[in-house]
Structures are given as structure tokens and as C-alpha cells.
Amino acid sequence: MEFVTNSEFIIGLAWWTGVVSLLLSLLLILDTFLLHSQIVTRSKRAERFRAKWQPLLFESLGGLPEKLPQIKHRDESTFLTLWNYLQESLRAEAKDELNKLAYSMSIDSVAIRRLDEGNVNDQLLAINTLGWLQEPRAWNRLEKFLYSDDTRLALLAAKALIRIDAERAIAILVPLLIQRDSWSVTVIADMLRVAGADIISEPLARAALESPAEDAPRLIRLLALAHPGVAIPVVRKLIGRISEMEIVSACLHILQDTEELDTVRRLLQDERWQVRLQAAACLGRIGTEEDQPLLIEMTGDLEWWVRYRSAQALANLPSMNSERLVEIAENHPDNYARDIIRQVITERQVAE
């Protein structure tokens, strides 16, 4: 009987592939051990470094220590991580003291060098460091990173630029917020908070009004971070003239004043449940006693979320109390409405 597996060529191939695999495995085992010992040595070194530097960094918060040890090239990453960690955790005055310490040790130059020559890891740490240092010399370098394909580098560079010069940075960033839809709203919001409402309100409001309908919802969501005095007029203008669901929902999400009550009440009857939901939630914030019948009716909506938000809004109305809510629940003709109001009553009791 003929067997492929008895062919000399195939046996030879199997044998040598097996031998090569075993040899490669042996090499990899050696490599794994080498790596293991390197990591152990490195982490022990980092631990020793942290044990030495942590007290010094804390001491520097009360003024620069007289004598600071030199930082070796291989300890730079550990130092920068430790320094950045403290920066993220401390209050504003303490941050200044940490910056003085960093400048006294030429950390600004170290960060710029790592920005120019390092790998992504080095660059991320360097960008964050330069942001905290508010180092104007790094502006042009950091601005280039805004256009990087790597979102993390771009967003971190944006945050660093805001820390260096918020007004100048926002002028560059607002158009990018529209262009770069891969930038997450969460991270942008974190970033804009750093700039503060004084600086972001006007440019964001302008951009929201001028941007095309598909980009507006993103900017309107961010308007929640702007001064209400600037944001609300924009929302009023948009809610009155645009019917796109995303925009209307975003506007209702941040609406805080009673001047648009009639519009909100009208939107409670919108055919799109997402709009009804936001309108109900909005009434929970700005509604008055007069909205009670409307909201009671909405607790019987076909959509669970609209029922839920309407019941919550009802419970939040100025004159509402537990007894009245129980009464509404008991007398409501709709089973679903009764259930949802009872749920909200229990939630309130639990919260209390």
C-alpha cells in the first residue's frame, strides 16, 4: 500500500520542520527567561526609584528641596510617569510647585527630546508633561500632533495646547471638533472643561449655529459645558428652526430655562419617541404645575423610556409630593402608567 507519509521527501520535511520548531521553541524559552529577568530587574529598579523620589516630590510641594539627585536616562520614564501621576492628582497651587521642580531639573528639555525622538509611549508621556508644564516652546511641535492619525496622540496634544494657551488652542480646535469625528465627545468634553466655560462658550456657540445639520448635534451636546447665557439663546434659535431629531434632542437635553416651555410642551407630542423622551426629561427640569396633566398622559406612552422619563418628570414637578403621586398612580386608567409611576415612587423612597 502506498503511503504519502512514507515518502522520503515528506518525512524529511516533517523531521526538519519539527527540529526547527523545537529549536525555535528553545530559543523562545531562553528569550522568555531573559525578558522575565529584565522585567523583574526593571520593576525592582523602578520600585527603588519611586521609593526615593516620591518623598522628594512631596517635599517639593512645600518648596524646592536643596539638593536633588540626577535622573539617569533609563529612569526618565519612571520619573515622568510619577510626576504626571502627581500632577493629575493634585490641586492647582501644588501643580505649580511640581512645575518649578521639573524646570529646575530640565524636564522640559527631556520631554521635548522624547517628543522628537521617542516611540509612541515616550511621545504620549512627553505631550502630557509639556501640557502640565505649559511650555510655550513646545507649541508648534504639539500643534503638528493635532493632525496625527493616531487619535490618542492628537487628543492628548489638544489637551496640552489648551493647558498652554486655552484661547489660542480653542480657536484652532473648534473647527477640528467638526472635522475629526473620530474624536470622542467624552474626551473632547474633558478637554474643554480644562479650557473653562469663559473661553469655550462663544466659539462653540458660533460653531453650533454655523455648522451643517449633521455636525450640529455633537457641538450642541458640548454646549452643556458653555455658560448658559451663551448656550441657551443658541439652543432656542436651533430648536425653533430645525426639526432634525438629533439636533432637537440635543437642544432639549441642555435646555434649562422656562422661556421655551411652550416649544417643549409641543415637542412632547412629537411622533419620534426620542424627541418625546427628551421633552419629558426637559419638563422634569423646567416644567410647572400646569404640566401635570400633560405628563400624567405621557406616562401611558407606547415607549417605555418615554413613560419612565415622564414619570420621573412628574415626580420632579415643583408641587409634587409622594401622596399625590400615589393618588395619580391609583387613578390612572392605563396599567403601564400605573406600573411606571409606582416604580418611580419606589425609586424615590429608596433614594431618600
Binding site: M1, E2, F3, V4, T5, N6, I11, G12, A14, W15, T17, G18, V19, S21, L22, L24, S25, L28, I29, D31, T32, F33, L35, H36, S37, V40, S43, T81, N84, Y85, E88, S89, N119, V120, N121, L124, L125, N128, D150, T151, R152, S182, S184, V185, T186, V187, A189, D190, R193, W304, W305, Y308, Y336, D339, I340, R342, Q343, T346, V350, A351
Partner: protein
């Protein structure tokens, strides 16, 4: 006759070449992609993260069936997660033990009026309980549905947030796991699911549901499974996710866009492989609808789970896993050669179907035929030894590469002795264990082919799995009596692995 023998030999040979080439392809991708991915995570891992109301809130859904022994530490560990806004929805799937009573007592639960909007198929909800101590904790008590999928569907219906994270009641999450899993959703709006890695907790020190010290167990069976898990998670999933064809998100740790899951009808109640079915169904749905989507794998989002410590339980687990895997593949067979998702349809699905699904059949046939041919003298000793060397060498190479990747990016096992033990396990795993699991998977394949149902009231879950797994490593004491007679389907509340 001769031609048939030749054809069969060529099939076996080509299968062997194909599967190994596939694994090497995935391994090479992982070797490049994994260090690169982790390099970018540096600031997320090393620096404190701001908690903002813009971060997406998530609903953790814990399916619990007869989990009185573990449910409290499990919920307590979830209450300690490092995340700004999340809720915990524990679904008591008609437990016959005191799971609900213990939860009520431990977390001061009060009953709420039921107002759940039912959008998915599941058995009726009997009651909803709210903790008066932890506002983010709710317990849904429902009639037993016979499978985890039923409980998860009820949890999804009861959840409040747009991202859901289904979990097993005995899974321990790393504190930063939700923070890491949510990243792809923040960075890419196309993301519909993100999966994390599963590690083995046997042998580790646990306290209040939190890992205190990572240790290796003494049981060789568990050590072999550690190597298997490393292979599955560190190169297979990384590899598939890089080419956007991740075929599975572990049932033990995954984050999903709720509306996408609801759009496909939630978890399938007809299969025990609800997690793999869900992912394949999502692939199929979004591909057919031509909607852009992404399913991400986040290797450093880690949860810990317990694995069987006896051959008997392990055998049952593997049989159920393989049958479930084939069920899920078959349900979603339209993905094979799908014209609108070519990489998935032409690369991943055929690989999964042929090499992972039907593979055990060829593998077992290969083992048996080789031994018989050798004994009957049809195969020379030279050929026998060469092929044994080849199979062992390639298997070892893959395992050692996974170990190297683990050391390179995670360095979980810090003790050098542990590394020796794992390398020894990687060597000895090739001499018996792999062949054994191939036989078990073949059994699962046969069960699927002949549609043999493992009756949940007939096949009992090995009590040792429960008792052993809840042994407190610190004190060496068993935490509480274990439920016996738990069915193998509820055992499928455990993690599924496939390369």
C-alpha cells in the same frame, strides 16, 4: 482502494498544513499588534482617569443560577469597580437555592413594582428588587429559563443604559476592566461590541471577590488549561481582531451596544453557546444590512474565572463547548462566503468551520490511523517519529510564543518559578492532554451531528468544580457548601474558548 487511502492521507496532511499556517499567521499578527496596542495604553494604565458625566454609563448584567455560595463576594467585587457610572443588574434565574434570600439580606433589597419593557424572549419576571444601600444595584427575580441566555435577555430588558456587560456570577473582574472595555466605544462610533481576556483564577488568592495574589495551582490539568487560555486569548483573538473578524467575545467579559443586541433579538435561547452565537449573529446582521460595525478585542481588560480540576468535569465541559460552537456556526452558516463581508466570509468563517469545527474529526482520525498504521507496519518508525516530532514541535512553538507574549505585555506571573512551571506545562501539554481534548471535542462534534441533547436534568454538574473553586486560597477553607446536581447547561455559564 489505494486512491482513497491516498486521498485521505492528503486531506490529513493538507489539514495539518492549513491549521498550522493559520495559527502562525495569527501568531505573527499578534506579535506585532499586541505590544503596539499596549504601548498606547500607557497613560490609561498608569495615570488616574478623570470621571466625567460624558463617559458612557454601563449596565453590568450578572446571570445567577444557584449561586448562593458566590453571589455576595461577586457582587461586592463589582461594587468596587473603577468606573464613574454603572448599574449592576443581578438576574436570579429561578434559583432553587437561597441565592435571592442571601442577596435580599446582604444588600437590603426592597421589592419594586415591575415596569420592565419586554423586548426580548425570556421567561416571566417575578419581581424587581432595589438595594437600599447601593443605589446602583438591582436584582431581577425570574422564572428559570433553563439557560443563561434566558437570564441575560431578562437582564438586558431590565437594564437602563445603552452599553451592557453580561457577566457570570462567579467571574472576578479587574477593577479597570470596564474603563478599558469602554474605550473602543468612545473612540469609534462603529463599535458594537468589545471583548476582554479571561484568566484562570484557580490557585490565586481571593478576598471579597478581589484577586490579592496571582499564583499558579498545583493541578497539572489546570496548568494545561492556563496554557490553552493564553494561546486562545493572546494570539488567536488578537490576530482575528486585527483583521476585523473576531468570531467570539467571551461570555465571561464583553461589553455590547444594547440596541445592536436587541436588533438581533438578543441571546439565542436555542443554543448553549449563546456568547459565540451572539457575535456571529451580530456579524451576520451588520454584514447583511451593509452597516459599518466593529467588534474590538481589548487584551488588557481582564476577568478571572475558574476552570475544571477533574477530567470528568473537563470532558463534559469540552463536549458541551464544541457542540455549542458547532450549533452557533450552523445557525449562522450564511456568514460562510458572505458576499458583503469577504474577510469574515472567506477567511475567518471557513477557518473556524473547517479547522476548529471539523478539525477534531481529522485530528482524531490522524491519531488513530497513525498508531494503527505504525502497529501494522504500514508506517515506518522513521515516519512515525518525524510526524510525532513535527506535531510536538509546532504545538510547543505556539504555546511558548503565547507565554512570551504574556511575559512581554502582562507579566502576570511574577515569580520565576511560575515561569518554569508554565514552560513545563507547555511541553507536557503536547504529550497526551491535547490529544485527549481532541477526542472530547470529537465527541461534541458527533453529538452535534447526531443532534444528541444533553438533558439538563440528567447530566449533573460535578460538585467538585464548585467546592474546589470556592476554596479560599488564603485560609484553605471552603467558603460554603456547594450545590450539587447543577446542570451542565448552567455550567455553560462558564467561559468558552476557541482559537
Amino acid at each position: 482502494m489505494l486512491n482513497y487511502v491516498l486521498i485521505i492521507q492528503w486531506i490529513c496532511l493538507l489539514f495539518f498544513i492549513g491549521i498550522n499556517l493559520g495559527y502562525f499567521f495569527l501568531m505573527i499578527i499578534a506579535l506585532f499588534a499586541l505590544p503596539r496596542y499596549l504601548e498606547r495604553q500607557v497613560l490609561l494604565r498608569d495615570l488616574p482617569q478623570p470621571h466625567t458625566d460624558f463617559r458612557l454609563p454601563i449596565s453590568l448584567i450578572v446571570a445567577a443560577f444557584n449561586e448562593e455560595a458566590f453571589i455576595v463576594p461577586s457582587v461586592r467585587s463589582l461594587l468596587q469597580l473603577d468606573y464613574s457610572e454603572y448599574e449592576i443588574v443581578v438576574v436570579n434565574d429561578g434559583s432553587k437555592d437561597d441565592t435571592l434570600e442571601i442577596l435580599k439580606k446582604e444588600f437590603s433589597l426592597v421589592q419594586q413594582p415591575v415596569a420592565i419593557r419586554q423586548r426580548l424572549k425570556h421567561r416571566p419576571v417575578r419581581g424587581v428588587y432595589q438595594s437600599t444601600v447601593y443605589p446602583q444595584l438591582r436584582v431581577i427575580d425570574k422564572e428559570n429559563g433553563g439557560c443563561k441566555a434566558d437570564a441575560l435577555n431578562a437582564g438586558i430588558d431590565a437594564s437602563l443604559y445603552s452599553l451592557i456587560c453580561p457577566l457570570d456570577a462567579d467571574t472576578v473582574l479587574n477593577r479597570d476592566a470596564p474603563l478599558l472595555l469602554v474605550q473602543p466605544f468612545l473612540e469609534d462610533p462603529r463599535t458594537i461590541a468589545a471583548g476582554g481576556s479571561v484568566r484562570i483564577v484557580n490557585g490565586c488568592e481571593l478576598s471579597e471577590g478581589v484577586i490579592q495574589n496571582v499564583r499558579l495551582p498545583n493541578n497539572p490539568l489546570v496548568l494545561f488549561q492556563i496554557i490553552e487560555y493564553l494561546r486562545a486569548f493572546l494570539f488567536a483573538r488578537v490576530g482575528w481582531s486585527v483583521i476585523d473578524t473576531l468570531p467570539i467575545v467571551s461570555g465571561a467579559l464583553g461589553l455590547f451596544h444594547k440596541e445592536s443586541v436587541i436588533a438581533i433579538g438578543g441571546y439565542n435561547l436555542e443554543t448553549h453557546g449563546e456568547d459565540i452565537e451572539l457575535i456571529l449573529h451580530l456579524h451576520l446582521h451588520f454584514s447583511s444590512e451593509e452597516k459599518p460595525y466593529r467588534i474590538a478585542y481589548i487584551p488588557d481588560a481582564v476577568c478571572w474565572t475558574e476552570v475544571p480540576e477533574t477530567f470528568k468535569v473537563l470532558r463534559r465541559q469540552r463536549i458541551v463547548w464544541h457542540r455549542s460552537f458547532m450549533e452557533s456556526m450552523w445557525i449562522n452558516r450564511r456568514l460562510l462566503f458572505h458576499p458583503k463581508n469577504r474577510v469574515m466570509g472567506l477567511v475567518c468563517m471557513p477557518f473556524q468551520f473547517v479547522f476548529e469545527g471539523l478539525g477534531p474529526m481529522v485530528e482524531v482520525f490522524g491519531y488513530v490511523a497513525t498508531v494503527i498504521c505504525y502497529v501494522l507496519g504500514f508506517l515506518s518508525t522513521e515516519a512515525f517519529v518525524s510526524f510525532l516530532l513535527l506535531a510536538t514541535g509546532l504545538g510547543l512553538l505556539l504555546s511558548i510564543t503565547s507565554l512570551l507574549l504574556e511575559e512581554m505585555v502582562f507579566h502576570t506571573y511574577r515569580n520565576t518559578r511560575n515561569l518554569f512551571v508554565l514552560i513545563a506545562a507547555a511541553v507536557f501539554e503536547n504529550l497526551g492532554y491535547r490529544q485527549l481534548t481532541a477526542f472530547w471535542r470529537f465527541e461534541g462534534l458527533l453529538q452535534w451531528i447526531f443532534s444528541i441533547e444533553t438533558k439538563r436534568d440528567v447530566v449533573t454538574r460535578n460538585a467538585t468544580l464548585q467546592t474546589e473553586k470556592q476554596t479560599d486560597a488564603a485560609t484553605g477553607k471552603t467558603l460554603s457548601p456547594a450545590p450539587v446536581n447543577q446542570d451542565v447547561t448552567s455550567k455553560s455559564y462558564k467561559e468558552k474558548i476557541t482559537t
